[in-house]
């Protein structure tokens, strides 16, 4: 397979296992959602693929190339990572912050190409009017966009996002997901997003992967992966899954008013 392949990945903090043998394949150019309750291992899995955490066992490859064994700098040209948030202790302009994405590519000083890639990423995220603003002057949603622009300036083949929408208002959540989806469609970038909102995942993503206790319990197109019994078990909350048109919606049964036990 020419996409992202994760096989047998295990990871634990000290003796507490977090990932217990994760196998996952994402086709090239697909947009995949990592779902699951807090502590299920979503963030940890993205960090293992981003090489922020070193797994105890298992392999991660993309297009047949072993991502865990190549030099860090080469890895950074293939995989980029958007953290949940980032607080810089120093004043930096938006343009400088996006330029950080060129770190694995650039030499001593940025080339004309580095600068044009950065400008393109700034424009793509609609940050043109803010390019010379300081990061501290931006709203939370705008700051999150800068992090995504930085990741795009890295010109990745695989884009990892660690709960990028959790702290955003509805408009920024939707726009973030639209941008990532358009990057997968237009540039064939493979995207993997750790996300809480099941309906957003169902709406924007090609593939939904449900994690529970460090294991994958469901994997497939959202309409197939979302099973009321499995979701109810994983979240410890009775839910109903409604299929509407091509889409799927998940609704806690408690909200129906018909579940009085």
């Amino acid at each position: 397979m020419s996409g992202l392949d994760v096989t047998g990945v295990r990871f634990g903090y000290r003796r507490r296992p977090v990932l217990e043998g994760v196998d996952l394949s994402v086709a090239q150019g697909a947009f995949c959602a990592l779902l699951g309750p807090n502590g299920s291992g979503k963030s940890t899995l993205t960090k293992v693929i981003a090489r922020i955490l070193k797994p105890a066992a298992g392999t991660v490859s993309f297009g047949g190339r072993d991502l865990l064994r190549m030099p860090r700098r080469e890895h950074a040209k293939v995989v980029s990572y958007v953290p949940q948030s980032s607080a810089a202790p120093f004043e930096l302009t938006v343009r400088e912050a996006v330029m950080l994405g060129r770190t694995p590519h650039t030499g001593l000083r940025p080339s004309a190409r580095d600068r044009s890639v950065v400008e393109a990423a700034i424009d793509r995220l609609g940050l043109g009017a803010f390019a010379v603003r300081r990061l501290s002057e931006l709203s939370g949603g705008q700051a999150q966009r800068v992090l995504i622009a930085r990741a795009l300036a890295q010109e990745p083949r695989v884009l990892l996002l660690d709960e990028p929408t959790s702290a955003l208002d509805l408009r920024y959540q939707i726009e973030t997901l639209q941008i990532v989806r358009s990057v997968t469609r237009e540039e064939g970038v493979t995207a993997l997003i750790a996300i809480h909102d099941l309906d957003h995942a169902a709406h924007f993503c090609d593939q939904a992967v449900l994690l529970s206790g460090g294991r994958i319990v469901a994997d497939g197109p959202p309409a197939r992966a979302f099973d009321a019994a499995v979701l109810s078990d994983v979240y410890g909350l009775q839910v109903r899954v409604e299929h509407r048109g091509g889409g799927v919606e998940v609704r806690p049964a408690a909200l129906d008013g018909a579940s009085g036990e």
Partner: protein, 371 residues
Amino acid sequence: MTATTDTGAAGRPAAPAPDPAPGPGAPPRDPGALRAALLAGAAALSALAIAWCTTVGTAGVGLADVAHAVRISLFGGTVTTEFERAYGIVTDLRLPRALLAFTAGAALSVSGAVMQGLLRNPLVSPFTLGVSPAAAFGAASVILLTGGAAGSSSWPVIGGALAAALAVSAVVLGLASAKSMATATLLLLGIALTQLFEALTAALQFLADENTLQAIVRWTFGSVNDAGWQEVRVVGVVALAALPVLLWFAKDLNAVAFAGDDAARSLGVNVNALRVGLIALAVVLASVVVSFCGVIGFVGLVGPHIARLAIGADHRFLLPFSFLSGGLLLLAADTVGRTVIAPSVVPVGIVVAFVGAPVFINLIMARRAAA
């Protein structure tokens, strides 16, 4: 699995840009050119300042005399009898003093800029890991062992200070690497070792007799009073050799300072190796200066801060500018110190603390307001 499952979102227009971008031909300016010019200007100013500070003092020596003396010592020539006195003052006293003040300030300031970037904290200094109390302890030990016979600028004392400072830094880095070089670990270890070595030095002072005690205390006043060409050579070579190495890693330092450890790793930076290597270099810079000049606080803290205000936080420009701003700061402080109550000379460490403390307090208060 399939990548083509239509979830209803495909075919939507790409995200609308919510904020109007400026015109299509937005000028992609290169801010580097302006900063390079600023850097060149500061370098020229530094050279002028060194020459001018050499003329300041009770014995009248003009800029022309300085230029003449430098020309003779660099390219050879005969020193006429009427120029002999001015030549001696310039080449034996004032020029090495000005150059030592400048290079010591430059080394401390660059060291501070590196430490602040790596530890992602603008309030740390080259001495955060306990370098200066360790150096003071090393110097005090040698002074005590020789019964005060070794002067405060003699080679055994310098060697003792340097050995203690480097040993302590190695211990801090070794312990911190067990905790994967977490910033909080480094800061706390630095605090612990600072306390320990201050207590040890106090114990030595308690044991010492009057003369030895005086020698120990005098060592801790940072000064460039004993400046000679030997000191200038060592401090200057170390500072100038470190600068290109640091510049080579400035890009990676940017990633760690501005994006944090996790994101820097995902940007292809080997964070642990970078942190050990650059902290070791920063600590060597600070240790060498402390060993030759004693404890000069605030330059390593305020020098980078001035540079950041002038040229921005990008380390590719910040590091060389910190070199110049720190050098100028210490040179100015020493020139004030030897003129303010002339002919007495106030140690530069004391003068710079008078300037540095208010700037530092202002820095803390400004941060609080911004947070």
